[in-house]
């Protein structure tokens, strides 16, 4: 039974609620994602996107509902390195004295011994991951000296090195250059073919149409969820953004 479940859903969130000291951030949210699916998470600031991510990674506890990752609990997903989180550029201290290599190596920490001594396989995984995001020339560059796009790629490499089957990306396209954007979209296609599941939050409506098979519109709870072509309608978007017309969000031509 377990294996059937595993085959079916990478992420299963049922009626989850999160509150911070009695203040509700997210309620009755549902999400089901299969291997190889890319899902866009769309909502206003404060609509609960980051909270949703936090619940899936176990960074905050849910007060109600159930989360299954590959059919198992969030805790065992943490132990198995199943989920990788790629933070927003604003979410990290980019003055931290740490190099690209060190950041990517952090993707391996969960599967290392207590002293976090890299084995040959860890070194190889880190080298490969850095190569895939095209940062081999910047191995020992401090992250403070990178551009926004390079920094984003560094954290993507960390997720790759972690060999996670689920990727959660917080605003992967914000503040990146064209080259990085192209590289990220190529990686998305590769991840999809590898059977990884991707959940990404974004403000950019065009990216949703371009990359996402599915879309989850939220405003404290799920407004709409389904195939992008069916669900990503002007009416639903307007509801999600509290009555602002999609013309205003997209620009008039769309």
């Amino acid at each position: 039974m377990e294996t059937i479940n595993y085959q079916n859903f990478r992420i299963e969130a049922e009626n989850i609620c999160v509150d911070y000291n009695g203040k509700v951030a997210l309620y009755d949210a549902n999400l089901r994602l299969q291997p190889g699916q890319i899902c866009g998470l769309v909502g206003m600031n404060g609509a609960g996107k980051t909270t949703f991510f936090n619940a899936l990674t176990g960074f905050v506890n849910i007060s109600k509902g159930k989360i299954r990752i590959n059919g198992e609990s969030v805790r065992s997903a943490q132990k198995d390195q199943t989920i990788a989180y790629v933070p927003q550029n604003e979410g990290i201290d980019n003055q931290f004295p740490i190099s690209v290599w060190d950041v990517v190596m952090m993707g391996r920490y969960g599967s290392m011994n207590i002293f976090r001594c890299p084995r040959e396989s860890d070194v190889q995984a880190v080298r490969d991951a850095i190569e895939r995001v095209d940062l081999t020339d910047h191995l020992s560059t401090p992250i403070g000296n990178l551009s926004g796009g390079q920094r984003k790629r560094t954290f993507l490499a960390r997720a790759i090195a972690q060999r996670a089957s689920i990727l959660l990306l917080d605003e992967p396209f914000s503040g990146v250059d064209i080259r990085t954007e192209k590289l990220i979209s190529e990686l998305f296609i590769q991840f999809k073919n590898e059977g990884k599941t991707i959940l990404l939050s974004t403000h950019d409506m065009i990216h949703v149409r371009e990359f996402c098979d599915l879309v989850l519109l939220i405003n404290k709870t799920v407004v709409a969820y389904g195939e992008t072509s069916e669900v990503f309608t002007p009416e639903n978007i307007t509801t999600t953004f509290g009555g602002i017309s999609p013309d205003f969000l997209f620009g008039p031509e769309s």
Partner: protein, 290 residues
């Protein structure tokens, strides 16, 4: 009176070493400086300077109570240090008062309690040595305690060096890959309390926070590599301690204050002349001459 004897550098350095209390002070203060310097890298990167201030002041009543009860004063200090942090967390969660206000409120409360207790409990507690440190008058039992605590902190920090770095840098990732963030949080707090306890012997409760933040801040200006930062932080802390003690010996100055002033001067030097992050960017100046 001894002015002529430090005309040569040699005697400036060696003369104090003939005194037993000076050898002990130099050794103990270097050890304490190394421990605080090590921890300092983490505290400055985590942004816990204020927390360091809070914990170091809050240990005061613990020290007094432990003295009165005849317990090792590190035990009392440790309990009150960790207790203050727990209390800060509790008040912050249960009220609408902002965190920095809560921190300020709690640690001054504890500190005041300590001062009142000293005046009430008639004992041989020397308020001056708690407040301002007395590295020149460390007793044998204090030496043992200091060595034990210092080793404990150094071992803990060494084992969890990389995890603590990850915790300071990106706790969300740490949690996501199954690393026990709760444990690391309290480990860092425990080390902070213990470091405050040993630090207060050198420079006293009021200035111990300097031992916990200045070396880290200095190192932060000088490097972009975490490991180097730790090394620079430890070295600058030890050098400041040595300078402080020597200067206080020759010029008859308050030792704790001298140590912290030495740290401050080293920081100022880095602030002005650090190769990349200093105001004058020494690297560029040199490049101009090539």
């Amino acid at each position: 009176m001894e002015l002529c004897s430090f005309l040569t550098l040699d005697s400036f350095i060696t003369d104090p070493l003939t005194h037993d209390f000076m050898r002990k002070a130099l050794l103990m203060s270097s050890l304490v400086a190394a421990v605080c310097g090590f921890l300092s890298s983490y505290l400055t990167l985590k942004g816990w300077a204020l927390m360091g201030d809070a914990v170091s002041h809050s240990v005061m009543p613990g020290v007094v109570v432990a003295y009165a009860l005849g317990l090792p004063f590190s035990l009392g200090a440790f309990i009150f240090g960790v207790g203050s942090v727990a209390l800060i967390g509790f008040i912050k969660q249960k009220s609408r008062v902002k965190e920095d206000t809560v921190i300020g409120l709690v640690f001054t409360g504890f500190f005041a309690l300590g001062i009142v207790l000293v005046s009430k409990i008639k004992s041989n507690i020397d308020l001056h040595s708690i407040l301002f440190g007395s590295p020149l008058g460390i007793s044998l039992s204090d030496v043992k305690q200091t060595i034990f605590i210092s080793l404990l902190v150094v071992i803990l920090l060494s084992i969890f060096r990389k995890d603590l770095m990850l915790y300071c840098f990106d706790p969300r990732h740490a949690k996501t890959v199954g690393i026990n963030v709760f444990f690391l949080h309290y480990l860092l707090l425990t080390c902070l309390s213990l470091a405050a306890v040993v630090g207060l012997q050198s420079v006293g409760i009021i200035l111990v926070v300097a031992m916990l933040i200045t070396p880290g801040a200095t190192a932060y200006l000088l490097t972009d590599k975490f490991d180097n930062m730790t090394v620079i932080s430890v070295l600058s802390a030890i050098i400041s301690s040595l300078i402080g003690i020597y200067v206080s010996f020759w010029f008859d100055l308050e030792t704790g204050g001298s140590i912290v002033l030495a740290q401050t001067f080293i920081f100022l030097f880095a602030f002005l002349f650090a190769p990349r992050y200093g105001i004058f960017k020494l690297k560029k100046l040199f490049a101009g001459y090539k």
